[in-house]
């Protein structure tokens, strides 16, 4: 059984699928940007029990590796890594923007833009779909201010939460595909139509550090 989940966006999305056909046996998606840590494990447990499976039936785990806000993203990655390690199975990482691109049914090249917070977007550009539905990533993933990449994205349908939040700056029509779907992730990994990478987080930003200077003077001036 293939277990798939993604926590790179405001959504916690989980799916259980046949590892060969990609047929979906159970799935759920909850949008709540602040509760990835609380929602993910119960959602996995529910999917397993809905499909009448136990964790021992899992043969592979697929996880979105971002880019996405760090705290939520790590919940998915650490869950995938620990589960896979104790179950002795493999983890397939997939760029979360690739999942969104794969969700589009348009027979055209598309752009994906998701919410990177701090008034920025994570984005990537994709070719039109091949016969098997896969899409080649042409540029990205990268993180930028919407206005700075509007030119690059112009003329393309833009998918993802970023297109909703920054419709004006991107001059894009908001699509109703806002968040990655674990169903699409599961099906894409099962059928080999999504590119698999190591389960390493795509942070795309260095950690914020405020360098502390020397000790401040405490003597009266």
């Amino acid at each position: 059984m293939l277990l798939a989940f993604d926590t790179s966006s405001a959504a916690v999305t989980v799916a259980l699928a046949d590892p060969v056909s990609g047929e979906i046996l159970a799935s759920s998606t909850t949008v709540d940007a602040l509760r990835h840590g609380e929602l993910l494990a119960p959602a996995i447990a529910s999917a397993l029990s809905a499909a009448g499976c136990t964790p021992r039936d899992l043969t592979r785990i697929a996880v979105g590796v971002g880019p996405g806000p760090f705290t939520g993203l790590r919940v998915g990655l650490v869950t995938a890594r620990t589960m896979a390690d104790v179950l002795g199975i493999e983890v397939a990482g997939v760029c979360s923007l690739d999942i969104l691109a794969r969700q589009s049914s348009l027979a055209l090249p598309v752009a994906v833009a998701t919410d990177a917070r701090r008034k920025e977007i994570y984005w990537a550009l994709y070719d039109g779909p091949a016969a098997d539905g896969s899409r080649r990533r042409l540029e990205g993933p990268a993180v930028d201010k919407p206005a700075d990449v509007a030119q690059v994205l112009s003329g393309l349908p833009v998918i993802g939460r970023g297109a909703v939040l920054y419709a004006d700056a991107l001059q894009a029509e908001a699509s109703d595909l806002e968040y990655p779907s674990a169903e699409v992730l599961a099906a894409g990994v099962a059928t080999g139509t999504l590119e698999v990478v190591a389960p390493e987080p795509l942070y795309l930003r260095r950690p914020d550090v405020t360098m502390s200077g020397g000790p401040k003077s405490v003597l009266p001036k």
Binding site: R74, V75, T82, V209
Partner: protein, 349 residues
């Protein structure tokens, strides 16, 4: 009945800890620390710590299992620090613990970090006394707690109203040009010929007036400033700063207040045991002074060995083990990471 085999995970700050205990016997205590990545910033950078936890988690779990000579499937329950601590850091450990508990179909215990600092002593000295005062002193906490039964909770008696004790060590170390984390370096500088009576630095919240409102509370901010002021004045006048003496005198002021208030707390509760935990419990002067003053007051001191005083996974496993042995119900899979988990809550339900 066989004693329960518990795996404990700790990620509340910059140490990724995985400990394994059977009953009150320590089998493994694996730690990966990101302290060196933080050293140049003079403090822990939360995002750096969280990233390091993610990378260290699986290797540290593996190392703990190897050392203990067990397979993860042998584990009877998984315990994890669910608070208090750095939110993003806690979340990595909690998610990992859920991944384990879920995969192994074993109960999950989300436990309080501070209570775990108390429970770790069971691994060294067996069952906790029927009533004791626990003094937890580290870079993140400075509290006096009354503990009757650790599995039922602890009662806060007092805590710092500004800096934690360990924080004061870090800041004073910086003033003296010693490395981070400051505790061990100040301890060493003091031992290398430092004169404890060279200067008398202020003892926070010990005046009669302060004691009325803050009998069991601490304050180290004024002390830190007094040291900085003293050092800076010396430098301004072009004089040498006797680092060893200043370190010793500062340390003396901290330990004096800590032990005085801890003993007062024991007397107030009628407890004959004082337990000291947290990173600052590794301080040699604090240990010596506590021994000396407590024995004069008829109080027995329990301090786990230094390796168990700092943050680690063994303390979490130890508390988990006490909770399992006491028959407490586990936490749900929806357990949140609670960065400000109240000290009165030992187990997150």
């Amino acid at each position: 009945m066989n004693e329960p085999l518990i795996l404990g995970i700790e990620t509340s700050c910059d140490e990724t800890g995985v400990g394994i205990v059977r009953g009150q016997t320590l089998l493994a205590d694996a730690i990966a620390s990101s302290v060196e990545e933080h050293a140049r910033f003079g403090g822990v950078v939360p995002e750096v710590a969280s990233r390091a936890h993610l990378e260290a988690m699986v290797p540290t779990i593996r190392r703990a299992c190897e050392t203990a000579g067990i397979k993860p499937t042998d584990v009877d329950a998984v315990a994890v620090t669910s608070g208090p601590g750095l939110a993003g850091a806690l979340l990595v450990g909690v998610a990992a613990a859920k991944g384990l508990a879920l995969s192994l179909d074993k109960p999950l215990y989300g436990v309080n970090h501070l209570a775990a600092h108390v429970a770790v002593d069971t691994l060294e000295h067996g069952d906790l006394p029927k009533g004791c005062v626990a003094m937890l002193v580290s870079g993140g906490h400075s509290s006096l707690l009354a503990v009757e039964d650790i599995t039922d909770g602890v009662q806060p008696m007092g805590s710092t109203i500004d800096d934690a004790a360990g924080e004061a060590f870090d800041k004073v170390a910086r003033v003296l040009g010693l490395p981070f984390p400051g505790g061990p370096y100040i301890d060493k500088a003091a031992r290398d010929g430092g004169d404890r009576l060279y200067v008398t630095f202020p003892r926070g919240l010990t005046s009669q007036r302060d004691l009325e409102r803050h009998r069991f509370d601490f304050s180290f901010s004024g002390l830190k400033t007094a040291v900085a002021r003293w050092v800076e004045a010396r430098r301004r006048d072009g004089e040498d700063v006797p680092v060893n003496h200043v370190a010793a005198a500062f340390q003396e002021a901290v330990c004096d207040v800590l032990t005085r208030k801890a003993i007062d707390a024991c007397k107030d509760r009628g407890f004959e045991h004082l337990l000291i935990g947290g990173g600052v419990a590794a301080n040699s002067r604090l240990r010596a002074m506590a021994e000396e003053r407590c024995s004069a007051a008829g109080i027995a001191v329990r301090v786990p060995r230094p390796g168990l005083c700092t943050d680690n996974g063994a303390m979490v496993a130890a508390l988990g083990s006490e909770l399992v042995r006491a028959g407490k119900a586990p936490s749900p899979l929806g357990l949140p990471a609670d960065s400000s988990m109240p000290i009165t809550e030992v187990l997150n339900k």
